[in-house]
Amino acid sequence: MEPIANNTNLHFVRELNQYIRKNKFMLAYSGQFSHVMTKSILSLAEKKLDDDKAELNTKKKVVNIMIECMQNICSNGRREENNDALFMLKKEFNGWQIISGNTVKQNEVEPLREHLDLINSQDKGLLKKTYTDTMKGVNVSAIGEAGLSMIDIAKKSGNKLEFAFTPIDNDNSFFSLQSSVKQEN
């Protein structure tokens, strides 16, 4: 059967829906991250996790990672006077994936990459030590506050962090950070 009323202006909704299905995401917010907004996103995500029967410990981890991600975005925003960013929550086969994305300056890319590579090279015990050292002010990374929260995300997730820098223009890149939490049985 041919569609009897296909409106090309709205075709993007179907495209988005296909993208969503393919990537199994359930929530995406793009815009300014104010304090109240952050709280509402968290509350919606919590409801969704309840609906999906996330085990309490798993839910706690996901929410904690979400908070760190959004704090990252907010602290980045304060510097840049523009915290136009992306936040997503995805359902995976046996867990959840938390994704944040924001614009960073080109000169921030290398320090971020080095820091994330370092985090990914460390096992649980070493991560804990790096975290304590950073807290104490020993070994503070070039990226400051954000550095600490990324270690925290890695600790909570228990999995390697995935990241990408997509060039936007000569001065800026889009920094995506993905972490996953497996459902505990």
Partner: protein, 187 residues
């Protein structure tokens, strides 16, 4: 870990959302708690964007209708993995948009299309009249009657409802409904 092609798509999605002035996408089944959260989140978003309170009220009514629409359809006999209901909120300098998308049986398309076309053909007075008649004639048991919902949305938005039915397979299509509330013109 870097240069994962999947992860590069995040930026594309961000761009796509910006391009269509979308701030929130929710995909999946709805229950009352989730619907409440979506509503509250949109409210917070409007506060930070400085949306006029009369506009806010109208958008709220439309969102409730749109969410009800989705809920109603998710309870019907369509249980296809290929279709996920979707709910979108966005705003640009003109006003606020609310979009819902959900699967619909092909056999029901003509009926729904006729209802929306009828609503779109009426002016403000006509809509008011039609609403009264529809309310008197509707019965509670009427599943998917929804004529009232469309009339109400059109009245609140004061704009034509935009819609599309996108073919999925021989039994179902994807029904997209968009309404827009224009910002109050300051005098």
């Amino acid at each position: 870990m870097e240069k994962n092609s999947d992860i590069e798509n995040n930026y594309l999605l961000h761009k796509k959302m910006k391009e269509h002035n979308i701030s929130l996408i929710y995909a999946g089944d709805f229950n009352q708690e989730i619907a409440k959260s979506v509503l509250s989140m949109t409210e917070k978003n409007f506060d930070s964007e400085g949306v006029d309170s009369s506009v806010k009220k109208k958008v709220f009514n439309i969102m409730v209708e749109a969410l009800q629409n989705i809920c109603k359809h998710q309870q019907t006999d369509i249980n296809d993995e290929n279709t996920t209901p979707i709910f979108i909120v966005g705003n640009d300098e003109e006003g606020v948009i609310v979009i819902s998308g959900n699967p619909i049986l092909n056999s029901k398309i003509q009926l729904v299309k006729d209802k929306i076309d009828k609503v779109n053909s009426l002016d403000k007075e006509g809509l008011k009249q039609f609403y009264k008649e529809a309310r008197l004639n509707s019965t509670i048991s009427e599943v998917g009657g929804a004529g009232l919902g469309f009339i109400d949305m059109a009245r609140k938005s004061e704009n034509k409802l935009d819609y599309s039915f996108e073919y999925i397979n021989d039994s179902i299509s994807f029904f997209i409904l968009k309404s827009k509330v224009l910002n109050a013109v300051s005098v």
